[in-house]
């Protein structure tokens, strides 16, 4: 509740108030109203409203902040939240909304949500973020199985929305001839679609779409959909599943202007229909529960390489091709990664060969950043390093290895890099707390052919245990 003065200063992680400093009245209160609104626009509405009590000048400021961020906390009574939202909407008088965020984790009737969304649409909202669970949000890790919230039809005729984010138990079923003429950024996370064509209908109505993120929780049936957007620059696809059976999907992508691509989750069929000539960055993070890979592992490796082949124009590549998924695989990279300048790779004992194959086809690589996925099994790893010289990029200048545990294959690899990379000038090895820096350093400095111009640093990673 509203407490009166306390004497000690509270902890402030970012900025500290010097207790002895003279209180300078010529401070942030010096800023014009417009900049104070801007500061308040970064706060959840609950906090912005609390500033009403600071002083006479501050009393009405929150009512003119051009954003509303309404979140219910699960521990608050749901009735309280509805009352608060209606009061805020009645008192808040900013004529247009830059942003409207509604996060509803407690059970709520859909007509309240309709009303609140209408209020936002009426104020020409530009950024709309909705996270709704009509029957209450399930505990972490579980699928939402309650009723889905059907978006009000007035939303599909909104001309002002530039950013739209939908998460949770929301049912998306756009009418066939709708348009979002201003929409640039669209984020859909784990929502329900009316039909297989819903996504295509939605994005066909977005003539200026630049950034699309679709994360799906897979279902029992096969999912087939297309993403065809010639203006798209950024794409993130994610397939997650909590079910015991592996999902199946077919995804066709037509995005010739793509600059940034990110994939996370379980990999099935993804086909790029146009060459990604403008691709700058690609991040691929593949993971799947063990049961699935046991059944499908014969095809998994091929799928990984097929996806990577489509991304071979990237300058920055970040890759975790999975752990057990890569044990059996078909062909190595048949295409060159001419433009790759920076490679981030997450290694496990099962995917070193993927890394090595990639290094052979990346002749312009400048920075190699390895991170080990900690594996307590300490599996044996068979690694075949190239015998011939000149297989490694002659431009490699920086090499980082996070998670070096002095295992045999790791030592072999580091030795190989330190010897073959002629242009190498910085190497940073991060070791777990249990190893000694001096010991590791000694091992490294005994490698033959060590360049005298390369700076080697050994650091301890104290963040684990």
């Amino acid at each position: 509740m509203c407490e009166s003065s306390a004497q000690s200063m509270s902890k402030c992680t970012e900025l500290t108030l010097n207790r002895d400093a003279v209180i300078d009245t010529d401070r942030i209160s010096n800023l014009p109203d417009s900049l104070l609104y801007h500061i308040l626009s970064f706060l959840p509405t609950k906090e912005a409203v609390a500033t009403t009590i600071l002083s006479k000048r501050w009393k009405p400021l929150w009512t003119l902040v051009p954003t509303l961020d309404l979140r219910d906390n699960r521990w608050e009574k749901p009735k309280c939240f509805k009352y608060i939202v209606y009061r805020v909407l009645a008192l808040h008088i900013a004529p247009s909304l830059r942003g409207f965020r509604l996060t509803c984790h407690s059970p709520c009737n859909s007509f309240h949500l309709d009303t609140w969304i209408h209020a936002a649409l009426a104020r020409n909202v530009q950024q709309l973020h909705l996270e709704i669970y009509l029957d209450g949000r399930p505990d972490d890790g579980h699928d939402y199985k309650g009723k889905d919230f059907k978006l009000p039809s007035s939303l599909y005729t909104c001309k002002t929305v530039v950013v739209l984010e939908l998460r949770g138990g929301i049912f998306l079923d756009p009418p066939p001839s709708f348009q979002f003429p201003s929409l640039k950024i669209l984020r859909l996370s784990k929502i329900i679609y009316g039909s297989m064509n819903s996504i295509l209908t939605l994005i066909s109505g977005c003539p200026v779409l630049e950034d699309l993120s679709v994360v799906r929780v897979t279902t029992n049936r096969v999912i087939s959909f297309k993403i065809k957007v010639h203006t798209l620059k950024r794409l993130h696809i994610g397939f997650k599943s909590y079910k015991p059976e592996p999902p199946d999907y077919n995804l066709e992508i037509h995005t010739p202007a793509l600059e940034y691509f990110r994939f996370s989750g379980h990999l099935r069929n993804i086909v790029f229909h146009e060459k990604l000539a403008h691709l700058i960055e690609a991040r691929v993070n593949i993971y799947a529960p063990e049961d699935w890979t046991r059944v499908y592992e014969i095809y998994y490796g091929d799928r990984v390489f097929k996806l990577l082949r489509a991304l071979n124009n990237a300058k920055f590549l970040s890759l975790f091709p999975g752990d057990k998924e890569c044990i059996a695989f078909g062909s190595i990279y048949p295409s060159m990664f001419q433009n790759v300048v920076r490679l981030n790779f997450k290694v496990t004992p099962s995917n070193w060969h993927v890394l090595l194959a990639l290094l052979l086809v990346a002749p312009n690589l400048e920075v190699l950043d390895l991170k080990k996925d900690y594996d307590n099994e300490n599996r044996l790893c068979w690694m075949e390093l190239p015998d011939a010289p000149g297989c490694l990029s002659s431009r490699l200048t920086t090499f980082n290895f996070d998670g070096f545990e002095k295992l045999d294959h790791e030592v072999k690899f580091v030795k190989y890099i330190l010897k073959e990379a002629r242009a190498l000038n910085t190497t940073t090895i991060k070791i777990p707390a249990k190893l000694s820096k001096e010991d590791v350093f000694e091992t490294l400095s005994m490698f033959p052919g060590l360049s005298t111009t390369c700076l080697i640093t050994v650091e301890k990673d104290n963040s684990l245990e």
Partner: protein
């Protein structure tokens, strides 16, 4: 690209809005931003480090400078930092932070406290 107003500043000699000290903080920001744009975690760390060296009073000037230079990312960044600094803090803490004093009539403040009681819940211990 973002600096059409910077040239104007250097041409305008009587400009008191942006002191040299502030310019050295604000101007290198875009390059760093571009480099670590992809990685949000690194960005947070960078922001925290940068602001550990900046006194709260300076923030006012930084905000004004970023606003004058029309540098949206820097303006958002500094404003967000102020917002983070006052989030979940008690009324007295925020008053001290902003250098404000209550100028309400007696009883007016209590009335507001009751009316918006829900917004004062869940505050950090001072």
């Amino acid at each position: 690209m973002k600096f059409c107003t910077v040239k104007q500043y250097f041409d305008d000699e009587n400009n008191n809005n942006v002191t040299n000290g502030i310019a050295t903080t604000v101007i290198p920001l875009p390059n760093k931003h571009l480099k670590i744009k992809a990685n949000n975690k690194e960005m947070e760390q960078y922001e925290q480090e940068l602001l550990r060296n900046v006194m709260p009073q300076e923030l006012t000037k930084l905000i004004l400078a970023a606003n004058y230079l029309n540098f949206k990312e820097a303006l958002d960044f500094f404003c967000r930092t102020v917002a983070n600094a006052i989030q979940n803090k008690s009324v007295d803490y925020v008053r001290k932070f902003f250098g404000l004093e209550s100028d309400f009539e007696p009883g007016e403040e209590e009335k507001l406290c009751k009316e918006f009681a829900w917004s004062f819940e869940g505050v950090d211990e001072d």
